[in-house]
Structures are given as C-alpha cells and as structure tokens.
Symmetry: C2
Subunit: 161 residues, 2 copies
C-alpha cells in the first residue's frame, strides 16, 4: 500500500530478585524515552510477602487499560463520541499438574464486558470496539500468538533455549 | 491421567475512566480473595497526564515478573538451586496505519535474556527455564493464542461483538 505507515513500539524490562518472591522491574519505553519502576510479589500462600501485586494482577490491569485507552483514542479518530467507558474483565486460566512435577499453564478464556455511555448507534459502537480490539497491542499479541524467545547466559555468551 | 490435577486461576478487573487518558482498575484475584488497585495513563504525547505507567509497561513487568516467579518456584520443586536470577525482557510491536484510519497492532518479537547465578549444569538450567516457560500463565497464553471475547451493554442486556 502506498499510504501504509508503520511505527515501532519497544519496551525493555530489567527484573531483579529483591525479596522472597518479590521482583523489582525497571521498564523503559524505549521508543518514547520514558522510564517506570514496577514490582511484583506473591501473597504468603505462595511464599511471598505481598509487598506488590502478583504478575497476573498487572496483566489484568494491562489488558483492561490497553483496551480502554484505544477505545478513548479511537473514539476521537472515528468521530464516535463517548461520555464514558466502563470495562469489566475476566481472565481464567488453569494449571495442570501431573504427579508432583511442575504444573503447566493453560488459558481457559478471557472476556471484556464494555459499557459505553454514548448516543452512538449500535453499529458505531461495534465499529469502535472492533477498532480498539485491533489497535490494542496486548489483544493483538494474544490473538496472533507469540512464542517468547529465551536465551541463557553461558560464560561470556548467550545460549538459545 | 489418573494423577492429573487441575486448579483454576481467575482474575477480574474493573476499569473506570478517571482522567484525560487515565484508567483506574480494581483487580480481584478471585480464586485467592486478594484485591489490588492499579492504574494506567499515557504521557503528554498521547494526550495523558503521565500519572501512572502506560498499559504496555504493566504488561512488560507482568511478563518479566511471571517468568521470574516461576523460575524461583520451580527451582525449589525441581531441586535446581539458584542464588540469583536476572532477566532482561525486550518486547517489540508495530502499529500499521493505512491512510488516516485507526492503526492495527502487530507483535514483532518478545525475548527474555536470563542470567542464573547457580552451580547447576547447562542441562538443568535449560530444564528449569523450560518448566518456567510452560508454567508462566502469561507465556502460555501468548504461545497458545487467545481470542478475547467482547460484549457490549445494550439496554438491559449484553450483545456479543
């Protein structure tokens, strides 16, 4: 396409062990030059001290916030005005353990219930949700599927695993 | 399998608009009865006030923390002791825009570089990383792919979109 534009979004995280189960994670929004300090922990049940939310709480907020941000941004671009958006997310996983080995994780289903305060038609509301879904970087990653690459430090180099 | 055990992990989020681009998101770890208050915002470039990290910063921390937590938990279960784990994550997306329409998101590649401080063999280190990868709920969701369901409030009911 002659008029196709592409832009890159790159985030880098650096995670360090800082408690029984706590991880402190410095996050750089590389392509915008922004920096954030975040952390995860687990509750006492999982051997942590509960000093920060667990990773899946951050994930739930990330997915919810990502979708809502796109609804708001694309509401302006598509000229489908909204007064308010309220989203209820439900994320369901299962862990599957055979014998005493480490468990394996499986997603069961993720859903977003969206309430728009708007005078827009049902058709326009659907168009807005559809654009937000396709524009949300997290939903796009989940929909397409991504195999995360892993490398282990080995001596002075890195080994793919 | 006679000795297969399954357990459920359910998170619910409730996102509300609370600023120009800020969303406040209450997150319940339903199956554990834990509650967390989180927020996302955007920087001034994207019309926000920068009062909280953007959704993708939470996502980067979530993925990094999820993987690290599983490394630490499975280190004990697999009896592969580690003194430290340090992870550098890189997440790369592209936005693709045709004309002046809303852009569409695509994941380009996600990677984790892992440094273990351990006396374990390369084989055991690989085994630990492999278990953590399969046990990490976020990596499993990305690897398998998940289509998020969407419903729009319509009158007193909900409409699938």
């Amino acid at each position: 396409m002659a008029d196709e534009k592409r832009f890159d979004i790159v985030f880098e995280g650096h995670g360090r062990m800082t408690g029984k189960m706590r991880n402190d994670i410095s996050v750089d929004f590389v392509t915008m030059g922004e920096h954030f300090e975040l952390a995860t922990d687990e509750g006492p049940f999982h051997g942590g001290d509960g000093t920060a939310p667990p990773p899946l709480a951050l994930f739930t907020a990330a997915l919810t916030g990502c979708f809502m941000t796109q609804v708001r941004a694309f509401s302006k671009r598509l000229r489908i005005p909204i007064r308010n958006v309220d989203v209820r997310a439900r994320l369901h996983w299962q862990g599957v353990q055979e014998g005493s080995g480490p468990y394996v994780s499986e997603p069961v289903g993720f859903s977003l219930d969206i309430e728009l305060d708007t005078d827009a038609s049902e058709e326009d509301q659907t168009r807005l949700v559809d654009a937000a879904r396709k524009g949300c970087f997290i939903e796009a990653s989940l929909a397409q599927g991504v195999i995360v690459g892993h490398r282990l430090k080995a001596g002075d180099g890195w080994r793919d695993v």
